[in-house]
Amino acid sequence: MRIELQKRPEGSRLFSFLSPLLALALTLFFGGIMFWMLGKNPVDALYSFFIEPLLEVWSLHELAIKAAPLILIAVGLSVCYRSNNWNIGAEGQFTIGAITGSILPVLYPEWHSPMILPLMLIMGMVGGALYAGIPALLKTRFNTNEILTSLMLVYIAQLYLDWLARGPWRDPQGYNFPQSRSFVPEAVLPEILDSGRAHLAIVFAVVAAVALWFMMRFMLKGFEVTVLGQSERAGRFAGFSARRMVWFSMLVSGALAGLAGISEVSGSIGHVQPTISPGYGFTAIIVAFLGRLNPLGIVASGFVLALTYLGGEAAQLSIGISDKVSRVFQGLLLFFVLSCDTLIHYRVRIVTQKLTGGTARHA
């Protein structure tokens, strides 16, 4: 017995709608079995994973806070991946964006001005973009593989932040503990509603997603991204420059990752500390693919992934499921979503060896 795929002439509408539901059903089923085997009530466990975090207003705010950086980074990455540029160093661009954006509030703490916040955001974006520019430069100039350089730059960025937070940027009144002084109120990203602490980052994320969706769908640039991504040769015939596309996609994704970084520091943390990201830059890669590299899909997948983090916590507290089990459950969900998406582009049939043995040999 084996599984055979047959390519559909075009993506199935039905399955692009059904596949996430199917994946969810499979996850619930197998996750339920896993919880049951661990001696937990599966219904309770699934309830606290998927429903509990959605029942309270404060929790919805937290969901937005968690989803915002994932979405911001992932929509930028979708442009990269669509154009066949493999930036996997968003984590580093996020970190550098946080650093450059924090220069003003950390080094000029006496400066109170409404100007400070917009400047911080711009500096964060510029920092992230410039940092993404390094692999872009190396790729266009020396033909260096961007997967590797962007990944290496992650570690360097993290160590640089570590050095700053423990060294020159340390709060002079902070007993030499490794964090900067707290940002002045003018440098803190405002909350959007009174009912919780969700701040402007989620607005940035949604705006960025809609803007990039518009670009990909209706603008020549979007077409250029798609064509160059599918075939560099075809793109050249159309008069597009692959080299310029490297720059464009890397700078866009770098800037968005940088914006996510400074938004996180300014809105959620309020000071600079040695580590600011629990791996957002890497998780966002998964978010980008779960959203099928479509900016609007990414908004949805960002919220789903954020929900699994919050749900994992809720399950730990209410029924004592360990953090590791939540990670396993998250992994299960990712696997099912990724495999069910196959149904969109392919017909799957299960064939027995007997029937296909002959044809396979001739193939």
């Binding site: 599984i3 055979e4 795929l5 047959q6 390519k7 991946y81 493999w86 996997i88 190396l138 020396f142 033909n143 260096t144 593989n145 997967i147 590797l148 350089t149 990944l151 290496m152 730059l153 570690y155 360097i156 160590l159 640089y160 570590d162 050095w163 060294g167 890497f282 890669i285 998964i286 980008a288 693919f289 779960l290 360990s322 953090d323 590791k324 089990v325 939540s326 990670r327 396993v328 459950f329 998250q330 992994g331 299960l332 990712l334 696997f335 990724l338 495999s339 998406d341 196959t342 582009h345 392919y346 799957v348 044809t359 193939a363």
Partner: protein, 304 residues
């Protein structure tokens, strides 16, 4: 003292070399598996658990290999049979591996492990200096060298290796020539998983004979970097692995010696070095292109 330092470098470099070599084979067949860290940690926990239960680290080594190989099948099924995206699946594999290994290993935390003992090669181990470095090592070190040499021969001298490289370069035409693309890729992915598992076993049986969560601490990612650093060539990979090990051990010695450079700068050195070397070797456009598997990461579905 030099001898002692080199011994430390060998221990530090061996898991990187093995895991990277496995990934090199996987990538040569045209598949990019970013889940090395996840497979490695599964290998580490399985090797440790099997050793504790049976009392034999050799069974542990086998368990590590088996666990890595089995875990990679999950990746293979998704990316090869179901044509899911390789980058995302690899990352998901890492998430799953880190969680699962933590869960499986919970009861083994804090137990003192059993170390895989060195095998002394008669006569050769008496050679001054080199003897102690190269011929009084454990099984996994010998395996790492044998694997590098063997894979180098396999890729560039054997018929099957040639076929595999053909698949990596252009799966459509390899398929047209009658090569079974999917089967070969499954084998390559499993080899990568088995190597990652073996590397994990080295961590929990030789490097530090114990089990703690997250004990791979990013070594799977470094292995991925090494593959590209070596431009997909096993012998360069060996050199790169040892260079990487040497830099990271060297910075610790520099500190113990009392050189007053911020430790973050020293810690960043290996990564900077990788980028610099990478620029130097990829500056020559032609050599990089020759070695890069052209269909790396691209999905393949056989036409019927």
């Amino acid at each position: 003292m030099l001898e002692a330092i080199l011994l430390t470098v060998i221990t530090a470099a061996t898991p990187l070399v093995i895991a990277a070599l496995g990934e090199l084979v996987t990538e040569r067949s045209g598949v990019l598996n970013l889940g090395v860290e996840g497979m490695m940690i599964m290998g580490a926990v399985s090797a440790f658990a099997a050793t504790q239960i049976t009392g034999s680290p050799y069974i542990g080594v086998l368990a590590g290999i088996a666990a890595g190989g089995a875990f990679s099948l999950l990746f293979g099924f998704l990316t090869l049979t179901l044509v899911a995206n390789q980058v995302a699946t690899g990352l998901a594999l890492t998430i799953l591996g880190l969680g699962l290994s933590g869960q499986l290993g919970e009861s083994f935390v804090g137990q003192p492990g059993i170390k895989l003992q060195p095998i002394v090669v008669p006569l050769l181990s008496d050679i001054p200096f080199m003897g102690r470095l190269l011929f009084q090592q454990d099984l996994i070190f010998y395996l790492s060298i044998a694997l590098v040499v063997g894979i180098n021969w396999f890729l560039f001298k054997s018929r099957t290796g040639l076929k595999m490289r053909a698949i990596g370069d252009n799966h459509a035409s390899a398929h047209a020539l009658g090569i079974n693309v999917i089967r070969t890729r499954y084998l390559a992915v499993m080899f990568g998983g088995a190597c990652a598992g073996l590397a994990g076993a080295q961590l929990s049986l030789v490097y530090t004979p114990q089990w703690v969560e997250n004990m791979t601490a990013g070594r799977g990612w470094i292995a991925l970097a090494l593959v590209v650093f070596a431009s997909w060539r096993p012998l360069r990979l060996l050199a790169g692995g040892y260079l990487f090990g040497a830099v990271s051990i060297g910075q610790l010695h520099a500190q113990a010696f009392g050189i007053g450079i911020p430790s973050q700068v020293l810690s960043a050195l290996p990564y900077v070095a990788t980028i610099v070397v990478l620029i130097i070797i990829s500056h020559n456009r032609r050599t990089t292109l020759i070695n890069t598997p052209a269909s790396l990461g691209k999905p393949f579905v056989p036409e019927r």
